[in-house]
Symmetry: C2
Subunit: 110 residues, 2 copies
Amino acid sequence: MADARNPVADLRDLRDSIDNLDTAIVHLLAERFRCTDAIGKLKGQRGLPSSDPGREAEQVARLRHQAALGKLDPDFAEKFLAFVIHEVIRRPQLLSRGAIEKCPTLHANY
Amino acid sequence: MADARNPVADLRDLRDSIDNLDTAIVHLLAERFRCTDAIGKLKGQRGLPSSDPGREAEQVARLRHQAALGKLDPDFAEKFLAFVIHEVIRRPQLLSRGAIEKCPTLHANY
């Protein structure tokens, strides 16, 4: 990928990779929200409890392990998960305001 | 994937999907940090400017478009990008404290 004689081209190459990775991540996040929406619907329809205290602890431990395998700072992976879960919890409020497309979601669907 | 007669199994299936998606995202984030570290190294070695005011605006516009294509809230995609860029900017400080593995990184490598 790198051409040591042309740093501007090298920079462009690396940024193209970042853009491709960001596109992939955004589409995986979209799929993740489809799952949490489905969980919200399932919980609402089938009477499952809306919260599950052990679930987030399991996710944190699992994701920290995966981060270490990928040589990513585990603290960052944990912060990323908290960021996404915050959005999942916030989502029903946005839906009720009509700020995003309506779909059934409850708290703690992560 | 869903078995309407067993909501607990359906919930487990959806959570398994979320876990797989999170694993994929974490590894893509790891690769993204490899790119930003490489950009930091390139800028440091080849004397490129450390900041590029137009770059982030381009990323925001591109990612909002991609989010819309994936039916993800564009505001969330923008917040996600800001979250990651914040970490890229914060990373050299962590490196200097030895909190994460040392590698050459400068500001604005996104």
